[in-house]
Symmetry: C2
Subunit: 246 residues, 2 copies
DNA sequence: CGCTCGGTTGATTCGCTTCAAGCCTTGTGG
DNA sequence: CCACAAGGCTTGAAGCGAATCAACCGAGCG
């Protein structure tokens, strides 16, 4: 914690970006300058709707947020799960509106970055623009890995989700190799993996009984990370966590 | 066709971008200036590999190209299908290497854009930079729609693929409402939808017998577009084809 | 000609869904 | 302080959609 609330707000963002690139103090200040205000939301709050014109993008400071859409059969499909340090709707800067909902999965704190300031800052600091572009490209890489879940079994899909969140949360200091807090319901897991809650429950039991991972009461306890990654087919390179000039 | 091969190469790219934004003649020239050379490839050629350091990005001028990865069970998962006017590995500009393969599905012509020139041009023409960023954001939106296929049945997944390609190809003048050339095998469709070739075959037969769509010998003949879109749950807004300042 | 690859069809199996019921925890109001 | 409702978790039985296994066809091609 610092004495500057804007610096606090971007702490996780900076931690994440610094895993992938060098960032100067000037650029940190520029990123902090993007933030206007912070807002707190309860769980299950809608923080962005499709087809609404956007004037700001939102940075997740604390908590868990999902992008989701409704399928023709009426079921909810979670398209992405965001952790602190992630921009939730940076793509709205150029797309102008979203094609999906953004909702909190847990109580969450969001920092708002007005598009007017984003435009100014990206024009003035080309490297900041590149960092934000990079950030949306990693989002796309994560999307692709979720597409690959089309070809995974139930255990593989769930295991992959747990592996991915373990690493992404570790980067922002909210997980270690043994586990992490994950305040999601089994229904959320079901909507993220496109499985039924019943089958998620059974699969979680199998994973627990095998001593691989224990997900209960909002906590992922990893018993055997290598086995978990094997089941998931998890290769972490798609998160681009190697530091190099971008 | 023009007398400038570089302008020909970016013709479909310009057509696509002009559906979403205004582009000046200066910017068209700047985009044409990105291109160094064109290369022709046969079907099933690998045009980019994971973990290799990239010095250029490639623009698809003609043909069909897929991004794909290998799943733990040994099966190929197609993550994206590209049509003329698409950049295949623009994300390599900042990611520096890819996490997947890029392979031609049909004979294809690719235009190469060296990263050095991409950097110069995006620095000099901020709006060109925004257009390219926009382009990668639409790629991500398409990825999300493929994630939604996790919750679709076999017919829904295939129908959605056909709907999406119909619209994307129409934008670059290679499809109309009745159908389009699609030089893919049923095995390619299977790898894109994470279904078995056998089941793809059966599902295609059902769609054909219902008079909705007939996919044979490299051609999609659409019999009932509304029905096809209904089965797919297709809403075209995720392609962001409305012209507005980006 | 014979090989290969893609497409087609049938029989069987399996993973996941559906339907149904019961349990536990939490919160709330009388 | 307890009754009760609601939401999430758990488990069983039956059904369905897609995978698997297997065979055959047909076109293109060396």
């Amino acid at each position: 914690m610092t004495d500057d609330p804007k610096l606090d707000a971007i702490g996780s963002l900076i931690a994440r970006l610094r895993r992938s690139d060098m960032i100067s103090e000037n650029e940190v200040a520029a990123l902090a300058g993007l933030i206007s205000v912070c807002r707190d939301y309860p769980a299950r709050a809608v923080v962005a709707r499709p087809r609404e014109h956007l004037e700001k993008s939102q940075l997740l400071v604390e908590g868990f947020v999902a992008r989701q859409t409704e399928l023709p059969n009426g079921r909810r499909q979670i398209l992405a799960i965001h952790v602190p340090g992630d921009f939730l709707d940076l793509h709205g800067l150029l797309l102008k509106s979203l094609d999906h909902d953004v909702v909190t999965l847990s109580p969450a704190r969001l920092a708002e970055a007005p598009h007017a300031i984003l435009r100014e800052t990206t024009a003035q600091y080309p490297h900041v623009a590149r960092l934000l572009w990079f950030s949306t490209m990693v989002d796309a890489a994560i999307h692709r890995e979720w597409i690959a879940s089309l070809g995974r079994t139930a255990a593989g899909r769930i295991a992959h989700l747990f592996c991915e969140l373990q690493l992404r949360l570790e980067v922002v200091g909210r997980a270690d190799a043994d586990g992490y807090a994950l305040p999601l319901t089994q229904i959320d897991i079901a909507d993220a993996t496109a499985l039924t809650p019943v089958h998620v429950n059974r699969t979680l039991r199998h994973l627990r009984e095998a001593g691989i991972v224990d997900f209960r009461t909002g906590h992922v306890a990893i018993g055997d990370l290598p086995a978990l990654r094997r089941i998931a087919g998890f290769r972490p390179d798609y998160l681009y966590l190697e530091q190099q000039p971008r």
